[in-house]
Symmetry: C2
Subunit: 425 residues, 2 copies
Amino acid sequence: MSMAEQAARAREASFRLASVPGELKNQALEAIARRLEERTGEVLSENARDLEEARRAGLPQALQKRLALTEEKMGQMAASLREVGRLEDPVGRTLLARELDEGLVLTKVSVPIGVVGIIFEARPEALVQISSLCVKSGNAAILKGGSEAAGSNRILFELIRGSLEGTDKVFKDSLHLAETRADIAEMLKLEGLIDLVIPRGSSRLVKTILENTKIPVLGHAEGICALYVDREADIPMAVELAWDAKCQYPAVCNAIETLLVHREIAPAFLPRLRERLKEVELRGDEATRRIISAREATEADWGSEFGDLILAVRVVEDLERAVEHINTHGSHHTDAIVTRSREAAERFMKGVDSASVMWNCSTRFADGFRYGFGAEVGIATGKIHARGPVGLEGLTSYKYRLAGRGQTVAEYAAGRRRFTHRNLA
Amino acid sequence: MSMAEQAARAREASFRLASVPGELKNQALEAIARRLEERTGEVLSENARDLEEARRAGLPQALQKRLALTEEKMGQMAASLREVGRLEDPVGRTLLARELDEGLVLTKVSVPIGVVGIIFEARPEALVQISSLCVKSGNAAILKGGSEAAGSNRILFELIRGSLEGTDKVFKDSLHLAETRADIAEMLKLEGLIDLVIPRGSSRLVKTILENTKIPVLGHAEGICALYVDREADIPMAVELAWDAKCQYPAVCNAIETLLVHREIAPAFLPRLRERLKEVELRGDEATRRIISAREATEADWGSEFGDLILAVRVVEDLERAVEHINTHGSHHTDAIVTRSREAAERFMKGVDSASVMWNCSTRFADGFRYGFGAEVGIATGKIHARGPVGLEGLTSYKYRLAGRGQTVAEYAAGRRRFTHRNLA
């Protein structure tokens, strides 16, 4: 079946999925969990074949590790399916109820987005997680995984599809698997049939997608996050937050790449930073290098996502310069200030144009699970639709429902009736 | 100044605008209203020159009429500026407050989108209305009006800019006027600097813009709306709603282009429709034409926005076929059902994938003012970001603010601390 045909079927299925009751969606999730438990052996043996192929092709160890499934990982998948089942139904929530006039009631209700295209890399667990989020939110989806995991993805997909169709025929055609690179290219052209594309993977993947589609994209190409140590910072706190935000997991998007420090506190702070972040390569501007030893920072360093134990350090004149630096060089993802001054924190948090702004805590908290969303669809740095860590809500839109008793606009235009616009509880 | 330069200045201004208190924005709106009142004469004389030019160029009468300003229209502009001033500030609203752990508090706060590009046609009032919505929502904007109104737009823009800069220097560079067609082409390429494009005008304008930009677009290219008369419809009500939705203002996007009728009620309903909608050209399918006289409907008629006293009429087998027709041929704008059955209404309103769905009332109610939003930014038929009639909220995004006492992710990863995820009032 061509990608356009699959997308057309997904679109048709999406119309039906919009009416599926929450209970049925949860039954489907439970059915998938059970089937994954029952068929673990088959999945692991398909996965072993992918791994064998990966070894033969000489794929990097890190990639091989992400590709490998285990009994434990399979158990976690089933558990996470049940967790998604327990989350509140994101569809059918009343977002607004308003009487426009007596007997003319407007409600705004959350609905699924429709058809979502999801492109992910390597880890086959992603397929299960993404499918579960789509089932829960009533969306049809076209999934495209990494080619290294083709066999694992295929069996997982078949098990999920079988469980869905076994649960109720309403789920028929709701999920599709794309398998080739050409499929992605075709998918990205289907703006009439696919409502949203979610890339999950390297920033290169995200950039390629952003450049090649007119479909809205939910994601972020870069995580260039900064920590600003204000004049009124608690120095031990600032040092610990810098360590946590840089070293606890340097490869992740909410780790910091840049540290800005107010010139008045720099002489006291920087030596402590140098000592605590021993394993980190610091790249400093001139003012930094007058206080501690560091490699010279280049202009490119301010806009780099190192994803490694490297940190660009700059001394700034004041808070406003820090905000300016972040808005100019950062990626509008997550940025933090350390200060005792509530007033300074307020100026920073208002001025910095990022999805998450932190005061006296680590940038690493910017995450759907830590924010308590239950599930994370992705992190978005655009400002349209969803922003920051995105929960199930990001897979929904809304519709307006107006119920009346035969009212015509003509009566209101002629002034025979008037609107009351009274919000209902 | 080049468009890119203007956009870069708007972007810089947008960082400052995010922190402007509501009161100052309202002062600016009042200052604009006052200046328009004081300088009405100058505006009218610039407008007279545009009109003179339009007459010389032989522009259609309808267009000339839309272009013409009067003392009365100027008064309405000032009044509407003050009305926007009285609306609730859409920025700085707390959308969520959650304790992640003791002393670690997450809030989700509405913020301006940033820089909005607005392209509108003919009526110079649009420039004033759009500017007022941008000021109120803290957005910077680049405005491009129709070339017929160039002189009127320029003087209105200068008066607005003068009032803004006279109110406070924070508003400097917040509004820009683009004047040439080449400017639009350049504007549409600035996806790094412009966050959202709002076209207000013909569906041809909207389509051209959708096809030529990667910037998100808020708008709708077409309004192909339908009224479905169910088996259990109240016939007199259905006839009146059909009249209102078709005839009260046929050129507008929420007027109906299609009427679907259940086969069991068609013989009783269609003759009454024919009688009440005397002035309307009906185009019917075969089943319709067996009951009443009508031109033969072509396949193209089901997907046409006539914008005129023409209505395509089709007899359907049942409600499901009506829903299917609407989802296939409609433009996902606004569709209505007439029925006494709550259950049928529910199936219709869930099944139809449109921004507004109506039960026993006219599609013509789909409008920001009638919905009680105070101001209408536009109507959107996409499902990403805003959908349906869009109020000031559509010009906002949000950011997450996390305030702590030095918490690191490492403590939670090591299990020394646990999240509470408790929502705050």
